[in-house]
Every structure is written in structure tokens, then in C-alpha cells.
Symmetry: none
Subunit: 258 residues, 2 copies
Amino acid sequence: MLTSQRKHLILESLRDNGQIVAKELSLQWEVSEDTIRRDLRELAQEGLLQRVHGGAMPTTTAKLASSPAMVDLKGRQKLAQHSKSKLGQAAAKLIKPGQVVFIDGGTTNAQLVKNLPLSLRATVITHSPTIAVALIEHPEIEVVIIGGKLFKHSAVTVGAAALDAISRIRTDTYFMGVTGVHAEVGLSTGDLEESYIKRALQAVAANTIVLASADKIDTASPYIICQCQQVNMILTDATIGDETINSYKEQKANIKRV
Amino acid sequence: MLTSQRKHLILESLRDNGQIVAKELSLQWEVSEDTIRRDLRELAQEGLLQRVHGGAMPTTTAKLASSPAMVDLKGRQKLAQHSKSKLGQAAAKLIKPGQVVFIDGGTTNAQLVKNLPLSLRATVITHSPTIAVALIEHPEIEVVIIGGKLFKHSAVTVGAAALDAISRIRTDTYFMGVTGVHAEVGLSTGDLEESYIKRALQAVAANTIVLASADKIDTASPYIICQCQQVNMILTDATIGDETINSYKEQKANIKRV
DNA sequence: CAAAATCAAGCAAAGTCGTGCAAATATGTT
DNA sequence: AACATATTTGCACGACTTTGCTTGATTTTG
């Protein structure tokens, strides 16, 4: 396993779980605890996390007096968040008044919800309780929740009950969340159940739009959802290079930067 | 569990409940009381809380000696929080390993969830996305969400879809939330749709337990769910007087104070 | 006052950390 | 291709931290 890849995954895990336990990761990835500790040391040096005995915590949660490293870090976080937020803003503009849309789980789609205007009148169907809670604030949006067994890693419902409920709806647009976008492999996700749900959702949607932040581009996860050209649009970061974009266009995928 | 993680949770719990009881946290997190006491000692050293015999209090409460009126007000708020938390604790103890329970929406039931031990293995069915999100932290609890149209005022799903999903389940215990408890009127709530859902849930549950904080007692809301004696138990505040309790017992209602 | 609960201090076991070192693997140069 | 240089990784070692337990003091409660 590559060092940079590991560091990347550490930060991702920190975002997802709010904490890092060195021993857990060493077991999970079959490397020594020393290696994880070294990674944590270096990431802490860059101000990307806070080391604690046994692992690490996000710097935001850490209650430390402002250190010189903190300024640097906050700027960097803002930057990464900013491009995700841009993506969310662009996606939010695609929802027109009166439409019925399905919003998938995931942090990128959470950004979409954050950017929805409070006055928007629309119907949002979701299988993510997190998204549903975020939409309570919007008085004009009718929210419908797809029930089922809660898959905790992604915080969305899955299983037969969810599939059954999905089969009884039709939506204008489906905002699909993915963990991997790859020109040859296609769109992919980390859980088999989820991949079935995503295909079912695509089948009942007139349009499917994928929101993929830069870190998802040119990566693949275990379970393939469909090919890139099978969705109506892939929305990604402005930071992605021209040649990368072209590799997707060669596959006739409709990929757009914002 | 990481030390720093635990300290953050202590401060969070202090904000939520207005007080810390060392023994309770040691039971809930399955660490020795010494460990909790050590954490409290160190947090007190940093001035983040005020140690008291048996646990800790927020520093703000202690500092308010200056304005007598404010002490009273803040103290009352803290007290109200504390008694709600007590109710949650008592209810949490009623859930036994392996059981299948339905947890209704509402702040009192949210307190129940906060007090569930992390190691509890059980199945929780809910129609509240808020409750579902709170349970993501619990690794051993299987969460099932009842889908439907989201009723925003209470943040629970309602409607035909929800009723249909409810008709297909059976639970050991239903923790019902209400907005009114009255000896003559019975149990009531503020929304018609919700009252139907609550009756349906009661019908599929072997036991129904009502959690009612002091402010609900002897009040009535527009939509009646059922009579007080039709549920297996009504759990309420220790602050309720004996004569009030007796007025319910005369109706053969099983009301208990904690 | 006396029983019960809570507390602090000290101790030992287990867990975690940093440093130095050597083997394995990449990278660059001749 | 052969060699030198740099990076990465796992291991060993001693130092440090955390934790639960014991003991005896202190506080609370009836």
C-alpha cells in the first residue's frame, strides 16, 4: 500500500468517524503500528490532524489555543471544503421549483442540501436520515423518507424494504453519490447492497446526475454501479485537468466542471 | 475508547444534561469510576467544569453567584434538563439485550437514546430520522427506519407508506412520545396523522411505555391517542406530587416516577 | 453516630510512544 | 547493467501514559 494513499485514507477515515485509532488501522491495513504512527506524526506536522494517545482526532474538535500551525490548517480545510461547496452550489441550481428529486447520502450531497435556497418549493425523496434531518429547516420542501435497514457506514437505508419502496416511486432527477469515478471501470461504490439501491434509483429517475469531488476522480471502489456514459451528467471539480476530462469524453460521458 | 474522545463526550454530556454523575458514565462507557474521576479532575484543572461530590457541574452554574435571579432561572433550566435525562436513563434500562423496540420521536425519547449503553445489542425501529442518526454511533444496534412522508414539526414520518410499513412489523416494546397526559382525557398529541401512527404502533407492540416529562402531565392536546390505562406504563418525573399520581391510579393507569 | 458512597494516592500490568537501526524497495547516476 | 543514494518499513528497546485495583481518608446520608 502506497504511503500517500494511506495518508489519504487516514484523513478520510478521520472525517467519517471523527477519530483515528492507530491499532485499528494497523490491523485493518496489515501494516505495523509504527507505520501508522509515523503517518499520524507527519499529518500532525502539516496540521491536518491532532495527535492524541492511541490515535488522532480532528483539529476542529481539539480544544487548543491557536498555534501557528492552526492558521495554515484552517486555510487548507477551507480550500478543500470550498470546492465541495462549489459543487453543491452548482447542483442545487439544477433543482427547479416543483420538481421531485431523489438525493443520495454522502458528504457531497449534504453540501447540495446546504446550498438549497430556503424558499425552494420541491419534493425531495431520500434514504439518508442525515439528509432528511438537514431538510427539516426548509419549509417549502416536502420530504419523503425511504425506509429500510440502516447501513451505518454510509448512513442510508438498504435492503428489500428500501428496494420495494423505491419501486413505487418515479423522480425527475436522481443525485447519485459515488466513491469512485473511472473512465474504464465506470461509477463504483464500497458496498454491494448500496450498488443495487443506486441502480434501482437510477431506473426510476428520468435523469441521473453524479456529484463527484476531485478525490473521487480516476479511482475505483469494489462494486460497480454502471458505466460513466449511462448517467446523464457527471459534475466535478474545476481543479480537474483537461486531459482527464477528455479521457471521459472519449467514452461519451457527459462530464462537466464547476 | 480514546481518552481525549472520552473527555469530549464528558463535556458534551455536561452541556446536554447539565450535570455529570461519575458512576453513570462509568457504567455507560464500561470503564472504571476511577478513570472517569481522573478525567473530571483533569478537566476541572483546565477550568472546563466544576467538580462536585459524585460527579461534576458546568462552571457557568457555579459562577452565577452575582445575580440571584439568574441563579434561580438557570438552576431551574438545569433541573428540567436533568429530570428529562433521568427519565431517559430509567427508560434505557428497560431495554434488554436482543429485544426489538420501537422508539418514537421527540426530545424525551432522544434522551433515551443518549443513555443507551454503547455495548447494547438490540434492534431499534423508528420513524424519526433524528433518532436514527443518533443511533449510528451504537455498533451493536440494528436500526430500521420506517419510511414515509416527513412531518416536519415532529420530525417523524407519517402517512399511508408509514402505516403500511408498521403493519408489517412486531415489536417487544413501543416507547411512545406524547404531548399531553391527562387522567380524564387520556394521552394526546398535536397532529391527527401522528395519532393514527401511534395507535398503529401500539397495536403491533407487546408493551407500550409512555415517557412523559413533568410539563406534559395534566395537559391535553387536540388529538387523543388512547386512555391512560391502555398503555402498560407511564414513566414520569420524580417532581410530580402524590395526589396527581393518585388521580391517575384511580383510573387504573400504571404510572411510575423516576 | 454509623453505614454507605465517594475520593485521592500509590502501585503494577498493559498499552502506546519515540528513537535508532537494519533490511527491503525505489530512484537516480554513471 | 552496475552502483550509489534516498525512502519506506518493521523491529527492538527504554521511556512514558493509561488503567483498574487496593488502601485508607473524607464526605454524605439516614
